[in-house]
């Protein structure tokens, strides 16, 4: 018998999940379930379980749509945001959450990501960012740091990495944030804010892949990788108080951008209304 949270929101007959020992994805999936649970049980919010839809693409991260027991769909590689846009436009009252990976959303689905952000479609995108393509054997992804090793970069990666949260913000996303596996409680709070945001929201959650990225780059096991996150990913409020010298090599987590832009499905319905009124005259 698993814990109440797991029993309530996950498909128990599909567990234990197929992720490797120490993979951060399980913690991020739990954060998502915890965030939804807290929103459903918050008397000030009007969320019901039936209003949530989980959409995923392809990759290690995208297996999460199979484990989470909601209305869920596991779609094609890179196209999760496109499917999610269709679901949101067909039924705008739904809270559509896209669970995707760094490769799925910023390489194969890069175009869908930037245009959904630009249009401000009311989706919540949670990126399970493990710096590598795990499922296919450790090829470098758009977020693999320069110089790091991957099966397709045996002498070091030449590319400069994407910062997915900044990429989305640059494309016009109205809410962008960063989280990580170590700071699970903070990340759950950020995911809650992203779900409550009216418009396109993206949370870039740094995962850990001890099997491919960690082992290839001698970053240690899952415990060592989480200790690295503890030391180098700093909650925003604390990061603000740090000196420039102390900030070297560290990154803040928390909300990066938060703007109120017109939401796409609202504007779409307004346009339909306006056209109907015009047609009646």
């Amino acid at each position: 018998m698993p814990s109440d949270l797991v029993h309530l929101y996950m498909r128990i007959d599909h567990l234990p999940q197929m992720w490797c020992p120490g993979c951060g994805n399980g913690v991020i999936m739990r954060d998502v379930a915890q965030a939804i649970d807290e929103l459903i049980n918050d008397p000030d919010e009007r969320f019901t379980r039936e209003d949530f839809v989980i959409v995923s693409g392809i990759g290690c991260s995208s297996r999460a749509a199979g484990y989470l027991d909601f209305n869920s769909i596991h779609t094609t590689h890179g196209r999760a945001i496109a499917f999610a846009t269709g679901i949101k436009l067909a039924n705008p009252k739904l809270h559509v959450i896209v669970l995707t990976g760094d490769g799925d959303c910023s390489a194969i689905g890069g175009n869908h990501l930037i245009h959904a952000a630009r249009r401000n479609v009311g989706l919540t995108v949670i990126v399970f960012n493990n710096d590598i393509y795990g499922m296919t054997g450790g090829q470098y992804s758009p977020t693999t740091p320069t110089g790091d090793l991957a099966t397709t970069a045996p002498y070091g990666n030449l590319d400069r990495p994407f910062d997915i949260a900044q990429l989305a913000a640059g494309a016009g996303a109205s809410f962008t944030a960063r989280g990580d596996v170590f700071h699970a409680r903070e990340t759950t709070e950020i995911i809650k804010q992203a779900i409550c945001h009216h418009g396109f929201s993206l949370v870039d959650v740094y995962s850990v892949c001890p099997t491919y990225y960690g082992r290839k780059n001698k970053k240690g096991d899952a415990v060592e990788m989480l200790k690295w996150q503890q030391a180098n990913l700093i909650p925003g409020a604390r990061f603000e108080t740090m000196s420039q010298e102390d900030r070297q090599g560290k990154k803040p987590i928390g909300v990066l951008t938060h703007n109120d832009y017109p939401e796409y499905t609202d504007e779409y319905l307004k346009l339909i209304d306006a056209c109907r009124k015009k047609g009646r005259k």
Partner: protein, 59 residues
């Protein structure tokens, strides 16, 4: 509670337990000093496999 069949022995719970309650033996977690547990829930929060969690024994 430990769900033995779900534990993959990654060692995260044992490493982040502030009271050294947990250890990994033969690839599975064991509560070697349950009397030291203060129910902080760090193990449950960090276990990627949902294999360890707190229960209220009085209920």
């Amino acid at each position: 509670m430990i769900e033995d069949t779900w534990c993959k022995g990654c060692g995260i719970c044992a490493a982040f337990c502030p009271r050294q309650v947990l250890e990994i033996h033969h690839g599975k977690v064991r509560a070697v000093a349950p009397e030291k547990c203060v129910s902080c829930g760090m193990c449950e929060l960090r276990c990627p496999d949902y294999a360890i969690y707190l229960v209220n024994l009085e209920e």
